[in-house]
Symmetry: C2
Subunit: 466 residues, 2 copies
């Protein structure tokens, strides 16, 4: 596939400099920073050149040039992806959105914000909260850009009540690979006018179009929040409890689960003890409410259900500091496992009621090997992260990939999918045929062609074979 592409000539590089300005073209060693993302064991690939356009018109010109000359273009947000979606696997141009970082408008009357794609989640949530509003999307990595969040349909911990990235996007501006600029959606919450291109482009991992700006939905801040840490003697009991909580009409913003061995690693990594760490499985339940009274009411109703369902106890942090420590422990679980020789990670989603069975069977698949098995995830929405660890060697990496395949097959056989929130990227594309039939992949390929007839935009991602 790579052979189909041309290399950049000096004359093309001059054209790129003319389009984006000399300060916005990076070549040589400095390209190193754009050769990888945060995928475990990421295999970096150097782009020939990095361009950092400042507006959609410049992006359109870059893409037209790339089409005319058959140069691959890989769009890049914060580079925090976990599926090698931003790695320029065929070289060519990395198109970084880092210079498009303006918050164009926060519209308090309509509860919307219009932002450029390169705005980081951190900058945006701060700006929104300064206006007394709230953007609940919380995939965990605050240096991620909003464009990247939308491109991968990022999820995170607050999805149970608020949904995932695609539930926050009302419209976007995007540049098609052939250079046309389109606008989709708007500041409204209902639309039946043509195909939903907003939703099609969201989650397409930069393979259909370059998102340049977005209209995002805002909401009111919650006022008060709390965390409940609930130890159980088995994952089955923990997951059964999730269903009871939701059946009773309670709507925590997030319900996380974790197994003891992940908790132990997180303790070692942060140097802070987690209460009740000796138990087998945990739920971490995040709640929000308007005021103290409602928080207490929710917390007590949830606690009651947990205890009826055999929870060992319910721990509610007594201080803001203890609350922060608990959140930190959850957020550090991934780096803690990473630190311990992470070989690969699955991001499977299964029906919520099947989580315990899925984890148990996935663990059995792993136990045939010498690899470490760590499970953590979003119990409220069925999204399970399974991390396999071991000493870094070719044999172990191969083994991890084989087990990963078995785990994906298991997830799909239970009515699930192979990625809940990280995307397919380059890393998981070979597994796509496990998740869908040939007819569906062929349809996606025809859609890709409808957007990108020359296959220059983020080639080698999502679809398989390319």
């Amino acid at each position: 596939m790579a052979g189909k592409y041309n290399k950049l000539t000096d004359s093309l590089i001059s054209s790129l400099i003319e389009i984006v300005g000399p300060g916005n073209v990076i070549s040589g060693e400095a390209c190193e920073n754009y050769s990888r993302d945060e995928t475990p064991n990421c295999r970096p690939v150097l782009p020939e050149v990095v361009v950092r356009p400042e507006n959609a018109v410049a992006i359109a010109r870059v893409l037209r040039l790339a089409c005319e000359n058959k140069i691959p273009v890989t769009p890049r947000g914060g580079g925090t992806g976990l599926s090698a979606g931003a790695v320029p696997i065929y070289g060519g141009i990395v198109l970084s959105l880092e210079k498009m970082e303006r918050i164009l408008e926060i519209d308090e009357a309509n509860f919307t914000a219009t932002v450029e794609a390169g705005v980081t989640l951190e900058k945006f949530t701060l700006a929104v909260s300064e206006r007394g509003l709230y953007f609940p999307l919380y995939p965990g990595e605050k240096t991620a850009t909003l464009g990247g969040n939308m491109a991968t349909n990022a999820g995170g911990m607050r999805a149970v009540r608020y949904g995932v990235a695609r539930n926050f996007i009302l419209g976007l501006e995007a540049v098609l690979p052939t250079g046309e600029i389109i606008q989709t959606g708007g500041k409204y919450f209902k639309c039946s006018t043509g195909y939903d291109l907003t939703q099609l482009i969201t989650g397409s991992e930069g393979t259909l179009a370059v998102i340049t700006s977005m209209i995002l939905k805002l909401t009111n801040p919650a006022g008060r929040s709390e965390i409940l840490l609930v130890p159980f003697n088995s994952l089955g009991e923990a997951i059964g409890t999730v269903q009871e909580i939701l059946k009773k009409g309670l709507r925590p913003i997030g319900i996380e689960f974790m197994q003891r061995n992940v908790v132990e690693l997180a303790e070692r990594f942060t140097g802070k003890e987690i209460p009740y760490h000796q138990y087998a499985s945990f739920l971490m339940i995040l709640i929000e409410a308007e005021n103290e009274e409602e928080i207490l009411d929710q917390a007590s109703r949830i606690s009651e259900i947990c205890l009826l369902r055999n929870a060992v106890d319910v721990f509610i942090p007594g201080s803001e500091r203890a609350k922060r420590d608990l959140m930190e422990a959850r957020e550090k679980m991934y780096p803690a496992v990473q630190h311990n020789g992470l070989l690969t990670m699955a991001d499977v989603v299964v029906p919520r009621s099947s989580i315990a069975e899925f984890v148990e069977k996935a663990e059995a698949l792993t136990q045939k090997s010498s690899l470490g098995f760590f499970a953590v995830g979003h119990a409220g929405d069925g999204n399970v992260h399974i991390m396999l660890t071991g000493t870094s060697s070719g044999a172990n990496e191969k083994l991890a990939q084989e087990i990963l395949r078995d785990i994906y097959e298991l997830g799909v056989s239970m009515g699930g999918m192979i990625s809940g929130e990280h995307g397919i990227g380059a890393e998981k594309k070979a597994f796509l045929p496990l998740a869908m039939n040939r007819e569906k992949i062929e349809l996606m390929r025809r859609i890709k062609k409808a957007f990108d007839p020359y296959n220059i935009l983020n080639p080698g991602k999502v679809l398989y074979p390319d």
Copy 2:
């Protein structure tokens, strides 16, 4: 365009009989019932034949036959659409989903239901409520099918809190025009695995694929509901109040607005008086809560805001019967206007804060003519229905279409779209170029081609020119 299609031969009709069974093929006069939908002034077109397949495999065979022989196929749900989306404008085959009306599963553990496309909204909401669950989608017309609701991305009165049709769909089974059967999504709430075909097919008005079954999201029932009728001296005051209510973090399930002249027609039509009918503008605020105490709390907080914002009063029905009467009045506004010589109806969506300005300007556009102007709609989500009335004549119909065009242009110039919930169908396709640039229409056309290379599925709908 019609010239591109072939007529059905006796041999093809025999094949259709063989595929769906003799009892499921309708021809001759009985086709009359399948020649129109509920579009104002609908121009009926007789199909050559109606088929009523009982499963996806039969649909796939019908579509393959249609592709091979260049026969147009128009899918049909309940026939309650308002944009002539189910009218077989090029003749050929009407593919009715009426025989696919099984509720396949209600999964209480995962809050999902799996249903065939021909299940009516009425049957489904009843079955769900018998299981103690709730499906809030409420576009108003209960004889509509769920497949039709999804195909048009139906909205309705409860969208402020619960969203529109596309917010309820987790996955679907669909038959592509070329006969392949695909499954998308599943019983999970997060997915980043390939392009979101579920969302692309939803709202595509049967032009991309025939939806055969769907996985829908359920929720908990509310327990208690209430309606507040709030009269104002101007629409501006009413709309300003909506923003205040939402800013205070209150989340009614719906906020409707209506103008005095619509209220008067509804009174005459139902024979029942509406309280405070002498005032200029009204909000009808629908609230839901778990219990009586919460309902009273919400009602009192909303009332307080309304009165601070110059509401004349707040009327809360004292009995279940008075509540039903009020809902009936709202639901009968459309038939009441229809009864009064409805020529055409706009279904514009604008940013919520611009509703009053939009209605005022749209009325000014109409006042140059002798046509009647009636505005009603969903103030909570910016969706405005403008109905133009007059004696039925060629001249008046032409005039209504001209004013409609001006109203659409106005809506788009204010950041809106030309359909919020009814779809484009055949009726509004000529206005599509007002709503989007040529590049975007061309992209939609290429997507259509990726699904339907022979253009046999619901041709002449949505896209323009065909």
